[in-house]
Symmetry: C2
Subunit: 358 residues, 2 copies
Amino acid sequence: MFESLEQLKTYEAGKPIELVVREYGIKPQNIIKLASNENPYGPSPKVIEKVRKNATLMHRYPDDSFYELKEGLSKKFDIKSENIIIGAGSDQVLEFAIHGIKPKKVLMAGITFAMYEIFSKQVGAEILKTPSKTHNLEEFYEIYKKEKPEIIFLCIPNNPLGECLNSNEVFDFIEKIDEETLIIIDGAYQEFASFKDKNKEIKPKDILKYKNVLYTGTFSKAYGLGGMRVGYGIANEFIIKNLHKLRPPFNISILSLIASIESLKDKDWVRMGIENNFKEMQKYIDFANENNLEYIESFTNFIVLYINNSTKVANELLKKGIIIRDMASYGFSAIRITIGKPSENDILLKNLRELIEL
Amino acid sequence: MFESLEQLKTYEAGKPIELVVREYGIKPQNIIKLASNENPYGPSPKVIEKVRKNATLMHRYPDDSFYELKEGLSKKFDIKSENIIIGAGSDQVLEFAIHGIKPKKVLMAGITFAMYEIFSKQVGAEILKTPSKTHNLEEFYEIYKKEKPEIIFLCIPNNPLGECLNSNEVFDFIEKIDEETLIIIDGAYQEFASFKDKNKEIKPKDILKYKNVLYTGTFSKAYGLGGMRVGYGIANEFIIKNLHKLRPPFNISILSLIASIESLKDKDWVRMGIENNFKEMQKYIDFANENNLEYIESFTNFIVLYINNSTKVANELLKKGIIIRDMASYGFSAIRITIGKPSENDILLKNLRELIEL
């Protein structure tokens, strides 16, 4: 009865703290989790306060039009509510697009966000990847011309590697693609990239004139609400109207709605998190340089360090209650570390130094 | 680019409080919402406390294995974790099943939960409905024999009408259906039905022996967590394993996870809500009898009253800030009222009496 799913595998998320507690018997308060690109500062204290006040509303369904949240996003991006759809994380917006188009072929970077492939396989699409791990638009264009995929994914900046295309390159690329192919620009980490380098900034407003471009964003990273599952898609009204046909009612929780609305208001908090992120990232760059380790320049809240025996290193860290992401499953020896709070980074680097010197 | 979606319409949820506030200028605290079958008592105070305490964790992704929640459900139903999948509301479990099977034909009662039809249309299925509005298993079987639908939906008790099949009838029916057809038993209101009448109780444990039966349940109704979007599916391991292939990671929020785990612990609170529900429902039955109105005997937390000019009645109530569900869109003149708190029911009945006497 599920014949069409035979080829599918289930997604394995990063190890949660609960699992390390259960498997290694380490106390939750002693675990350092730098594996899932969570914002170590969390959301604004005003968001926490607002959620606490409204915890009495959990039996009430949220306003399914998401009126106030869309108003907030409209203001942030200088666009109309009609250009916005809300998803349970930006993942769900990707799911609507992929399930709605049912592509025969999709195109993405050699290593990029895992959900592109997972959702595409669910509708039986062939997965095309560029030979390069990171985004190379010439390779994208060559494959596009030959294969005419119905969807092209651009992750800007790219998760899990951290590199970032320049926005002018992206717009030049868009101009060369026929309107029959949807280009999805995944901007989950755009707040970080555009802070570090204005040349990386993609303004969602600028993609509205294209009939075939969908921008996705999230509250999971810069806004510190990863656990609340709120994201959004921005595109012209035709695309948004169609994506809404696949949106189930009440697809985010009432507290997720309240938290995301409130989080848009505290811009200083968001800025603080991003500033600290890049200040702390420098520690990892210094560490890499001191130890002659290669790394990928990152425009996100994580960094990829090339390291020998990455699986062994990741396992040794795990035994000490430090959770990072081993990149071996992507076919190369490296680790991906989420930039944590100062003390977390210091402990991780101390342990990493010891492991390298062994 | 979205050709396959052309026939689809978007779902219209019941009017949220926010909309009435915006449209009629009525203060939120003066609005009585008895339209969406929310639990008027909300979740246990212990759940609210627990969520408040853990509001600092909103940046953390939940344990994607949902280990503790599944343990809680395993205990409640005397089954194994491997027989459980967690969804963002039981709606999402329905979505996994329908999208995973991609049925050509599905069969359901004349009037039943709207999402069966919506999800089925998304995969292009033909919708077959029994001539009777309420569940009539003879009609189901006649159509089944002729049409061999890949999915049969049984809503026990039925939303939005409130009637409920006896469990022995249901199991007799299951025995007659080939294993190629999935039978989905939607038990969203089972806690209410089995409290009122033991003959209505469907134990999820008893369906595990069938290769083609999926039971769905929810925290939205008896547990008072409608806004938090947590539901579950229970079936044999083969079905559950396949449904997991379509489950996106982190499909419920971290606070939803924490709230649902905690809510399972306070059985007294859940019982109090159900007891009060049926005590208060009696007021509506008395009202119907006094005014010679027909009603459908309900095994849920709502009741359907036949009433002339239901649309006019619903609109008049709305102007006074009372939100109920007009059934006119289902093709008959009736209103569906969620059983509220005593004072809410009294105000609604007072207003309804005045409207009827006009």
